[in-house]
């Protein structure tokens, strides 16, 4: 079957494709490529486009039984964006940022030290450690969140920033350690050896030579940790039940249930705000992030 297909492809290549003039072939190829690109951007981007457009539309539009793909200029308004001035929404954003900053600090620190140790040092149980890290990568939040809720209730950690930070750290750490491990492997050990010859200690060579060389990796780990917190629903829903402590994702869902007071436009404003940061990071840091996923 495969061989027959291969023979056919050779036949087509020789008889059809190679017969066409070179520049025509290039032109056709480019057209095909760009139409696929356009199609993909359309399919993937339409919900995002709709979200952004809806955030600028009059509430009356959302009860129109014949929704339009293109907004009419008469219905555009900035009124929905006023929701960002409400204290509720401000509190959600603030909570999310506090948790995110804490988790980013914890995860970048522990991933960098562990990444260095795993790359440069020999120590007992290294393999077991690698296994546990990989296992931690698969763990699903709901499985941890239920026992954590019961533990936190008795420890008084429910509705606290520190409680949710601990929960998030364990989710972001495996990816972080893994990425930093890979990153440190790209720093030649010879550079550190040169420093040791000059009398530098290992801590010194790590701080002044190895770590500055992996800044992009640290940045990517930080972004990943941030995205984990930013997008999380499960942990926050269970471990932060109090509405004063709520973060953005469960907060958004809570607002959807208050239909009379908020319309789709308001919700889309919050959704847009929640999407902007991930999109920015995805554009800026794609190469390093992709490296982290090269498992």
């Amino acid at each position: 079957m495969a061989r027959r297909l291969s023979r056919m492809s050779h036949f087509v290549s020789r008889r059809v494709i190679k017969k066409l003039p070179h520049d025509l072939r290039k032109k056709v190829l480019r057209t095909v490529k760009y139409s696929i690109l356009a199609l993909w951007l359309f399919v993937a981007g339409f919900p995002l486009y709709w979200m952004i457009v809806s955030s600028f539309q009059n509430p009356s539009v959302f009860s129109n039984p014949d929704p339009q793909w293109l907004p009419s200029t008469a219905e555009l308004t900035l009124a929905n964006w006023a929701i960002l001035q409400s204290t509720d929404v401000f509190q959600l954003v603030l909570n999310t940022f506090i948790v995110a900053v804490g988790v980013v600090a914890i995860v970048t620190f522990i991933s960098t030290t562990a990444g260095y140790g795993l790359t440069r040092l020999e120590f007992p149980f290294k393999l077991t450690f690698a296994r546990v890290i990989l296992f931690g990568y698969m763990i699903a939040p709901i499985v941890l969140a239920i026992p954590m809720y019961i533990i936190y209730t008795s420890l008084g950690l429910l509705n606290t920033y520190i409680g949710i930070m601990i929960a998030h750290s364990v989710r972001a750490t495996p990816f972080g350690v893994w990425l930093m491990w890979k990153m440190f492997q790209t720093v030649p050990v010879a550079k550190e050896e040169a420093a040791w010859m000059m009398g530098a200690s290992r801590t010194r060579s790590a701080r002044d030579i190895a770590i500055p060389a992996v800044y992009p990796g640290i940045l990517a780990v930080g972004v990943f940790a941030f995205a984990t917190v930013w997008g999380d629903f499960t942990f926050a829903r269970i471990l932060l039940p109090n509405s004063d402590m709520m973060t953005l994702a469960p907060g958004l869902i809570r607002l959807t249930q208050r239909g009379a007071y908020l319309n789709t436009g308001h919700l889309m404003v919050i959704s847009t705000v929640m999407s902007v940061i991930p999109i920015f990071f995805a554009y800026k840091l794609q190469d390093t992030l992709l490296r982290g996923f090269r498992l």
Partner: protein, 307 residues
């Protein structure tokens, strides 16, 4: 091993050389986090699943494996299990097809904007994806609902979230919009690490594009595809947020999977013992997946390379 030659320490009094000690110190913070937030809750869940616990009563009553027995006799448990399997298999099928096709396209285009859109879709919060799709699929006034009606796929009066089959399809597809991009990202990362001289050598020997795809690209992707199927299977089986936000397990429990069932037992029925029992059952499934994953993944290789 170069690092060892210079810096192998002298064994100190407790019999560990400096390097091992320093190595252990570097991973200590990670171990603390893993212990505190993974091992302790896991052990606690196991203990709790063996007790009868009432929400407002600090007294735990030891009941042995009775909770497991109760759960395994519940029709709701089997309903949740079946739904979970349907949801997992459906999601994997959609995500794998979509994810691989998009990865091949994106890799071919090598366009930063397209790559960014792909990664962005994966890191956009699930809550946002769910709310946006929920509104777009609203009966009569939603854009996608109208599109589906115009295409003749559903009737005008049909509400997607009120029909058990459509609700299941809905959660599968909305989930796949986001999570297929995980497949894409993993496959893309692998595609970009295939050495270009493989393709150059093939071109020199007169291979067509199809030959190169079948003989170079596919074999190179086999490992990552197996890994992705396993990871996504585990994650979709244990996924809580997408289903909870879209349907809360409804209509009439037709999208209720094990995570939803565990959540309801714990937080609606306040049956902590039974809730943790279901969580433990999910954990066992996860652990089986984990063993398969470690076998497939082979960290030994990386540990050796990593030195």
């Amino acid at each position: 091993m170069a690092a060892r030659d210079i810096r192998t320490g002298v064994r100190n009094r407790i019999g560990i050389d400096d390097e091992s000690l320093f190595g252990l110190i570097t991973v200590l913070p990670t171990i603390i986090v893993i212990l505190g937030a993974l091992v302790v809750p896991g052990a606690y869940a196991l203990a709790a699943s063996l007790h009868e616990i009432h929400a407002f009563d600090p007294e735990w009553t030891m009941v042995g494996i009775n909770n497991y027995r109760t759960i395994l006799n519940e029709a709701e448990f089997y309903n949740a299990l079946t739904n979970g399997i349907v949801f997992t298999i459906g999601s994997i099928a959609v995500q794998l097809c979509l994810g691989i096709v998009v990865a091949l396209l994106v890799n071919d285009l090598k366009n930063r904007l397209v790559t960014a859109v792909t990664i962005a879709l994966y890191i956009i919060p699930t809550a946002v994806v769910s709310v946006v799709f929920n509104r777009m699929l609203t009966q009569r006034v939603g854009v996608y609902h109208n599109l589906l009606t115009d295409l003749g796929l559903i009737g005008v009066d049909v509400s997607i979230w009120a029909d058990s089959t459509l609700a299941m399809l809905g959660v599968i597809f909305v989930g796949s919009y986001k999570f297929a991009m995980f497949v894409t990202i993993m496959v893309l990362a692998r595609l970009q690490s295939i050495p270009t001289y493989y393709y150059e050598a093939a071109t020199m020997s007169g291979a067509t594009k199809l030959d190169k795809f079948v003989d170079i690209t596919l074999p190179q992707l086999r490992g990552v595809i197996a890994l992705v199927v396993l990871l996504r299977a585990i994650w979709m089986f244990n996924n809580f947020d997408i289903i909870w936000i879209l349907t809360q397990g409804g209509p009439s429990a037709s999208t209720e999977t094990l995570p939803i069932y565990a959540f309801k037992l714990t937080f609606s029925d306040l049956q902590y013992g039974l809730g943790t029992t279901v969580a433990m059952i999910m954990f066992f499934v996860l652990a089986i997946g984990g063993i398969a994953y470690l076998t497939l993944f082979n960290p030994e290789q990386d540990v050796e390379e990593g030195d």
